[in-house]
């Protein structure tokens, strides 16, 4: 994509009232715009990152056999009353409004109730089970404070998956499969090494839920980590009894700050009982359906990735989530430089490499600063000097070493490195 044709403008300063590093960086680099505290628009580069993360998640959800759908933002009060979660004292993050006839409506902070109630239309027999559906949905949560940038927003995008199964065994199998799929997802977005399955508090039905916690200084959670076993315990359930139960040795645990990037939760048959979701088994006997709920905060994950890899010069995206792969700097407006840059742009795109081509004729320092700030995995420079030295100058983001190569070699290198 030619920079002159992309809606993109970097800024030297983040807004003075922006405290979170992820939002400071993403704002300066032109990925997001703050509408109000905890409410961000995603500009073209930001939307590309979100779409990449979504696609990684989508492929894993599909491989589980789940079907994608999209629920609604407006929700009926009546549903949430049936599970006793309408009252602001029970759920303190509701945004509520009302229809013109006065009927109160809720704005979606979660979808367990609507989706389970909907399922009463689609699940009636054991033949309809298991069913797995997921969505990428904008959630609104009326957080008292919102100072963590896109890591905790009042408006954010979540992937939520729901599993409906006939019994505990079928539920457990899917729960395990989702755990594995989640670990693959965090691997693919580059956070595998620093993300841990973490035991957290459960609910009426199970002792524990499971969180996926990524170690980061700015995380809001405190977890106790067993590096060897690759598992952790959330502070909220950190007791001697729990450690015994999980066979963890207190002396080996490390206390760290972490951000919850995913969670999985067993509801058992609680919600189905409350909302009347039953099925007839092989003998025609009515049975309640088991519900599992599995979330990944897509925008939060983007924020965590942004902070995790950034350095003092700006963002630094892993190839899989980067909005594009290569920042192509064209230094100078000599015909041979323009010709070589145009050619590199075309050949790379033909090989499936996504190129952000800085065709603005601004000075080198400005291009280099933007390349670092925007944080694509590679920077490629075309100039009189590089051409005289034998080609184009390729550098990885975050490395100092740059190498001059002919275009064909660059295309080969990047074609491989940037493969989907």
């Amino acid at each position: 994509m030619r920079r002159s044709q992309l809606f993109l403008k970097t800024r030297h300063q983040a807004p003075a009232d922006e405290e979170a590093k992820n939002a400071q960086l993403l704002t300066k680099a032109g990925y997001i715009h703050k509408e109000m505290a905890g409410v961000y628009a995603y500009l073209p580069l930001g939307l590309m990152v979100l779409d990449n993360i979504k696609q990684i998640v989508r492929e894993e959800m599909n491989s589980l056999g789940a079907s994608e759908l999209i629920m609604t933002n407006l929700q009926a009060k009546e549903l949430w009353e049936r599970t006793d979660r309408w009252d602001d004292k029970k759920v303190d993050v509701w945004f509520k409004s009302h229809l013109q006839n006065g009927t109160e409506v809720g704005l979606a902070w979660s979808h367990e109730e609507p989706i389970t109630a909907m399922m009463t239309n689609y699940i009636s027999s054991y033949r309809d089970l298991p069913a797995m559906v997921y969505q990428f949905q904008t959630k609104l949560r009326n957080e008292l404070r919102a100072k963590s940038g896109i890591m905790r927003g009042r408006e954010f995008v979540m992937k939520d998956l729901y599993s409906y199964t006939p019994d505990q065994a079928a539920h457990d199998k899917i729960y395990n499969d989702v755990t594995k799929a989640y670990l693959r997802i965090f691997d693919k977005v580059g956070l595998g090494d620093s993300t841990y399955v973490t035991f957290a508090s459960g609910g009426a039905f199970t002792q524990f839920s499971h969180e996926f916690q990524t170690i980061t200084e700015v995380g809001e959670d405190t977890i106790y980590l067993d590096e060897e076993k690759k598992m952790a315990v959330n502070e909220e359930v950190y007791t001697d009894q729990v450690l015994d139960q999980l066979n963890l040795d207190k002396s080996k645990l490390e206390k760290v700050q972490a951000a919850e990037v995913g969670n999985i939760f067993s509801f058992g048959t609680t919600k189905s009982d409350q909302l009347g979701l039953h099925f007839g088994d092989e003998k025609g006997e009515p049975k309640p359906v088991y519900l599992g709920s599995y979330g990944i905060g897509i925008t939060r994950l983007m924020g965590v990735i942004a902070e995790h890899f950034a350095d003092e010069r700006g963002l630094k995206w892993p190839v899989n989530v980067a909005p594009m792969h290569v920042y192509l700097c064209r230094l100078g407006d000599e015909p041979e430089v323009i010709k070589a840059a145009d050619e590199a742009y075309e050949k790379l795109q033909e090989s499936g490499v996504k190129v952000l081509y800085d065709d603005r004729n601004v000075r080198p320092g400005e291009q280099f600063a933007d390349a670092d700030l925007i944080g694509l995995p590679y920077r490629l420079v075309v100039s009189q000097k590089s051409l005289e030295a034998g080609g184009l100058e390729l550098k990885e983001r975050g490395q100092e070493a740059a190498h001059i190569s002919e275009l064909s070699a660059v295309v080969q290198t990047l074609g491989k490195a940037c493969q989907a």
Copy 2:
């Protein structure tokens, strides 16, 4: 996709309180679920149709040089006060809520104000113009009545494009380009022949806006149509003076009902003046920016397409928007039938044909009824009888004639017919 693995269940009856034909059909065929009046969830097949329509629109927007982004649902009261559109007496479709500190917020019914205010961060010089951005966004509108299914929802998806230009001439050029792109879009989704550029009321800045109206009995608008000139006049501006001005002959006009599937609107410099969006021209003089706003109701368009092509048996999608291309019926569970159906499923998918494979072992009548109701462009039947007759039975949705061909011929025919 194997039907046994897709979340899909058709229904014999639409909900009793559903008046609109589009919603009745889409509900019965398993595309949508009604959450409340005017508020619909999109089930897997419905989401596929939406995604196809979006992709057609997206390609045209990108070809105009516009960049995709995504704004927010939560909006600041202050912005809308500056343009005098916060008051419920001025805009009667607001949903409003408030933060925990009492600050009032609006839920997005439109985005002209937030996006124009945002642009003050990104447009300061003539070098930043023109700028074109668009989004696919969920809008919430508190309609007094919502009885038209997905053709007029309280929650719906809209594509909105905004153009920012330095002067009237640059604006007019883009306005014309968008008009042409819109006509291409309505062609591609199959409504080209029945969609007309229609003169409608303008605003403070221009006498007219332009609507794209598709003729349909259930349309909410009345328009006067000149079939020869392929243009129309909305009833709201249907006066002798306007007809003279547009050089239309009253006696040649036909009065028809139509649904507005798109509109384009010139704001001139009004919004920029109100929201302080100025740029410095070549001499450094401050000038207000011209705004154009261009909408297509994506979910409404899906509803119009659904109604437009449906027959007494169900939906009937044009190839470009159909969720999948072929409904593959497997009749019987004899090994050779299963083998032939599996092979057809694989070979067709390899050729880029999207297949919904009914692998449920239900009786033929149920499969055929579902195939018609769901409305994919083709139905392919594999049975003992078809194999004995020499292959597979292919039929177009809406046609009575069916033909037996060998798989290789079917693959060739459908591979061509279903090309993207």
